[in-house]
């Protein structure tokens, strides 16, 4: 029974590869070239330094490397395994055929292995072989390295399967698809914690331990078994047997554990997911007196509901967590005394303004751009309704601007209160960021109309790769120019002399810009009121000009019709697309 299943899988893979577009083949070649080049650099490094690596140092590197392999497979493999186990389209057919569930499970397991785990295995094996050649290792080194690496790859994959099979029994079925995205984030945090293990298990930092050849982990830690086996094998020592056998035993245990949950976690889990929840998602009772809105507001509200009710949409706000909330928690836990810092609000305020604007650049553009691809298969509705493009554009713009603005302002108020900002600082910061950030949103909206993408299996990826890069660059370029009057406004005029000195030290474009800033600051010193007003006017012209131009261009594109690239997400291996669908 296993043979036809694997044969069928093989045919699907070969057919998929054979029917790729030229563009995809080229991207494969480029990706392969990139990986090959990276491997070449690693191998070259090994060639140069392998003689200098002492055995204890190698032991530490290998142990940490194996932990990284498990972490990497878990990080990238968890969502992949979820797709294979629960959202693959062939399961509908396979479960109706007289095939034991175990066989389907193993077929999926092999299918998952061919992806990220196999790539990781090959990627790590080549440098290990290279090392063996350079240090003229015993011939036993090669098969042992192969077995140990394969064992850790299988352990990583089995853990990914195990997590999925356990989690599917805990999470509510109605939330499973959305939870998967959240799980990707959680797996990221889990892997981060995993890789931080050496730091927590010891008093010294990991780098110090590694370089001084001290053990990173206790002896019983399984990653040490792999390192021991490889090092003994490189000398041809018989001591390789025990750690290798223990590692193999652990691999088998991991596989058995994951297969023990097949019936309950795989088949029943799939059924639960496909049945959906028996509990209907009831939203609060409607208010019969709730008035209807203007079409622009209605478009925005529709977008807001889509954002609010889908956990995956909130992933866009992750940078906020990493760039602001984590550092703030770290800061509050730190040794610095709050009262000492509160004194320097003239320093803390501009720094915070810069940081929040940086977040606006990430969030506003992404959210606005995503609003186009978000229409997905519902795109026909706006196209059929008597809505001019400008209504749709403004409707999408206001909500994609307001959502991050409210969130970041809320956060800014907390930070400001902690750091003791003045009322004037609060108001100036909030108003000016409101003005500047609308320009970023409009740029995002326009780019959304040029490169919208929709993948039913990955709804949060709503922008083509190239377009998202352009969005990032354009957002920062815009902020850079919009910030010049803002910088003049917020930086004390006394810093003019420092800016002048810096401009002499730096040549080229940036030197010229700092030179201009220095001159403007000097003017500010002599007539602060006039320069202040001028700065506000220039900033308003830049931001509202950009906002109006890009919104109107977006509206025109909407009137003409926008194409959303529908990515067929049924096969992980290919990026084949169904024909684009037109929007508006």
């Amino acid at each position: 029974m296993m043979k036809p299943l694997l044969k069928n899988q093989w045919k699907i893979i070969t057919n998929t590869l054979q029917t790729q577009s030229l563009k995809n083949y080229i991207s494969y070649v480029i990706a392969f070239g990139f990986v090959a080049f990276f491997l070449f650099l690693i191998c070259r490094g090994i060639w140069e330094i392998s003689d200098a690596i002492t055995q204890p140092v190698l032991f530490g590197i290998l142990s940490y490397g194996f932990l990284m392999i498990i972490g990497f497979i878990l990080l990238l493999g968890l969502p992949q395994v979820f797709k294979h186990l629960y959202s693959a389209t062939d399961l509908n057919l396979l479960f109706t055929l007289p095939i034991p569930t175990q066989y389907i499970f193993w077929m999926k397991y092999f299918q998952s292995f061919i992806g990220i785990p196999f790539f990781t295995f090959v990627f790590c094996l080549i440098p290990l072989i290279m090392y063996g050649i350079v240090v003229e290792a015993h011939f036993l080194y090669y098969p042992v390295a192969f077995i140990v690496l394969l064992a850790f790859t299988i352990i990583g994959l089995s853990l990914a399967y195990l997590f999925n099979l356990i989690l599917i029994q805990i999470i509510p079925a109605s939330k499973a698809n959305e939870f998967m995205t959240m799980m990707s984030v959680l797996s990221g945090l889990f892997v981060y914690l995993l890789l931080m293990l050496p730091n927590w298990m010891n008093n010294q930092s990991m780098n110090e331990l590694l370089l001084s050849g001290l053990p990173l982990f206790p002896d019983w830690f399984p990653v040490n078994w792999g390192s021991e086996a490889i090092i003994h094998a490189s000398h041809g020592s018989i001591h390789l047997l025990l750690p290798t056998l223990m590692l193999l035993l652990l691999t088998v245990i991991c596989m058995v554990l994951s297969t023990s949950l097949v019936e309950k976690g795989f088949r029943t889990g799939w059924i639960r997911l496909n049945e959906g929840s028996s509990q209907k998602k009831k939203i609060k009772k409607r208010q019969t007196s709730h008035p209807l809105s203007h079409p622009v507001i209605a478009v925005g509200i529709k977008e807001w509901y889509a954002i609010k009710r889908d956990m995956r949409e909130w992933l866009a706000f992750m940078p906020m967590l990493f760039f602001m909330i984590f550092p703030l928690i770290g800061f509050l836990n730190g040794d610095a005394k709050l009262n000492d810092i509160r004194v320097f609000n003239e320093v803390s305020w501009p720094i915070a303004q810069g940081a929040i604007l940086f977040l606006h650049a990430i969030l506003n553009g992404t959210l606005a751009a995503s609003s186009i691809g978000r229409e997905g298969s519902s795109a026909w509705i706006l196209r059929v309704l008597p809505l001019p493009g400008k209504y749709i554009a403004i409707g999408k713009l206001w909500i994609s601007w307001l959502t991050p603005f409210v969130l970041l302002t809320f956060f800014e108020i907390i930070v400001g209160v902690i750091l003791g900002w003045t009322f004037f600082q609060f108001i100036t910061g909030i108003v000016i960021k409101a003005v500047i950030s609308i320009g970023i949103s409009s740029i995002g909206l326009w780019l959304g109309t040029t490169g919208a993408k929709y993948n039913p299996e990955n709804p949060q990826a709503r922008l083509k790769f190239g377009t998202s890069i352009i969005l990032m660059v354009l957002s920062y370029v815009y902020i850079f120019f919009a910030l010049i009057p803002y910088v003049i406004l917020i930086i004390p005029a006394e810093t003019a002399s420092i800016a002048a000195e810096v401009s002499h030290d730096i040549s080229g474009f940036f030197g010229a810009i700092i030179g201009i800033v220095a001159t403007l600051l000097a003017w500010k010193a002599s007539s602060p009121f006039i320069v202040g007003i001028l700065c506000i006017i220039v900033m308003l012209i830049i931001s509202s000009g950009v906002a109006i131009i890009f919104t109107m261009v977006s509206a025109r594109r909407m009137d003409r019709g926008i194409e959303i690239d529908f990515v067929n997400g049924t096969k992980a291996i290919s990026g084949r697309r169904t024909p684009s669908k037109r929007l508006y």
Partner: protein, 262 residues
Amino acid sequence: MNTTSIKLTDLSKVYGKYEAVKNLQLEVPRGELFGFLGPNGAGKTSTIKMMTGLLEPTKGTVKVAGINIWQDPLEAKKRIAYVPDQPNLYPKLTGWEYLQFIASVFRIPNKKFQVKAEELLHIFSLTNRVDELIESYSHGMKQKIAICGALIHEPDVLFLDEPTVGLDPNSARSLKKLLRELCDHGMTAFVSTHILEIAEQMCDRIGIILEGRIIALGTMGELREHKGSTNRSLEDIFLELTGGEDQQALISEISKTDQGDK
């Protein structure tokens, strides 16, 4: 007063080298319930999409309520409504919020909206489920809420692509009755369907499309007359015109052979 609700002139659609719709000429008068039939891939959906502004014609014009939909799309769209065969609606809105959104776009007065929405929801037995997210609806329920959304602004012309697919018998009957009633009061309905029984029972006129051309057009009586027999059903006429008769004969042969084997 303009009595023609839909007018297609030389309407064509070409995809690369493939001509999906070929020089269609068609007029549908106001208040008519028009059935649009054809086998799979005959060009039905392409034609409807061109009439609703979803697909740009390669050649020809579409006038809805006297307005060229590709020259003055907003004015034309104010007068039409469309229900596609796959009702992909906003999954994160509730049924009620979806209707509110549509009503907001059409600027319907709030009071009128409340009354109309409740009435439509009652007809399609959706009143108890209207506060649930659309993503939790079955295909049939999505179809029903899409129909409610289409009728909320009382359009002059309603385009329905396979409207009864997924509907339970009660809802299908309610839809048929409602359409008949609305057409009697002046609305025009352009309905594409595979269910010949529905077309036969409820449509004023029927057009059959094959390989992008209208090959038959008229009332049931006219179609029967054209084929020379008053007793023939629409199914017989359809199969004869679209070449399905040969397939039917083949199926009969296979079935006879199978029975002979036994």
